[in-house]
């Protein structure tokens, strides 16, 4: 993706993501006539400083994600327990493979304009090239 050097420095590498229920949950729900809320794409910052993927707690509630237990997080200088959820993550504007079942953690983010941090739990499967001089970044999924 090409932005501009100044904009890439200011905002960081941002992509659109879609958070939804896992394929198995959707299949199970359909079989009993239940529907989950429709997901809408929102902005996510690719954050090499985040060990795990984090979303705004309001989104976890809105999409009725499935809670699977508390996780310990250190964020904004504070260590505490935050709710972990199972979710699928896809990337509607990118030619990137989705992740069907990942644990994401609901934690207030420092910036109100950002709803998600893509952490190193997802980055471990990607090659990320960041070219600050040209204002570009590129992602390649390395999963076989």
């Amino acid at each position: 993706m090409r932005i501009s050097p100044a904009e890439l420095q200011r905002r960081g590498p941002i992509i659109k993501v879609l958070i939804s229920h896992t394929f198995a949950e959707i299949t199970e729900a359909k079989s009993v006539g239940f529907e989950f809320p429709e997901s809408l794409p929102f902005s996510a910052l690719i954050d090499t400083g985040a060990a795990v993927t984090v979303i705004n707690p309001r989104l976890a509630v809105r999409y009725k994600l499935r809670y699977t237990g508390p996780e310990r997080i250190t964020a904004l200088g504070h260590t505490g327990q935050y709710p972990g959820y199972a979710a699928a993550i896809s990337f509607p504007d990118q030619q990137l493979r989705a992740f069907d079942t990942v644990r994401i953690i609901a934690c207030e983010l420092a910036s109100a304009e950002m709803s998600c941090l893509i952490g190193r739990d997802i980055l471990r499967y990607w090659e990320l090239i960041y070219n600050g001089a040209s204002g570009e970044f590129a992602i390649r999924d390395l999963r076989p």
Binding site: T22, A24, E25, E28, A29, V32, F34, D47, G49, A50, A51, V52, V54, P57, R66, Y67, T68, G69, P70, E71, R72, I73, T74, A75, L76, H78, T79, G80, Q81, Y82, P83, G84, A86, D100, T101, V102, R103, I105, A106, C107, E108, L117, G119
Partner: protein, 80 residues
């Protein structure tokens, strides 16, 4: 408990059950992911994804279940 968590932990029973069995499981299933609903252990899995899918298959959409990685020290994930 941090303010980010619900006032009442929905999986408090499962967390207590995990704590009571953790020492035993550390010897038999270190670093694996255990799935617990009530006092029932669904099984032990190599990763979160396998654990979640097994839990969903066993307990369905209606029953909550805990997924916990069996570690000596609880991992703390840092978000800078």
């Amino acid at each position: 408990m941090n303010h980010a968590m619900p006032a009442e932990e929905p999986l408090i029973h499962e967390l207590s059950f995990y704590a009571a069995n953790k020492h035993k499981w550390l010897a038999s299933h270190p670093n694996q992911f255990v799935v617990i609903a009530g006092d029932r252990v669904e099984g032990f899995h190599a990763d979160y994804e396998s654990a979640f899918n097994a839990g969903l298959k066993a307990f369905g959409l209606g029953q909550q279940f805990l997924i916990k990685q069996i570690c000596e020290t609880e991992p703390v994930y840092v978000v800078y």
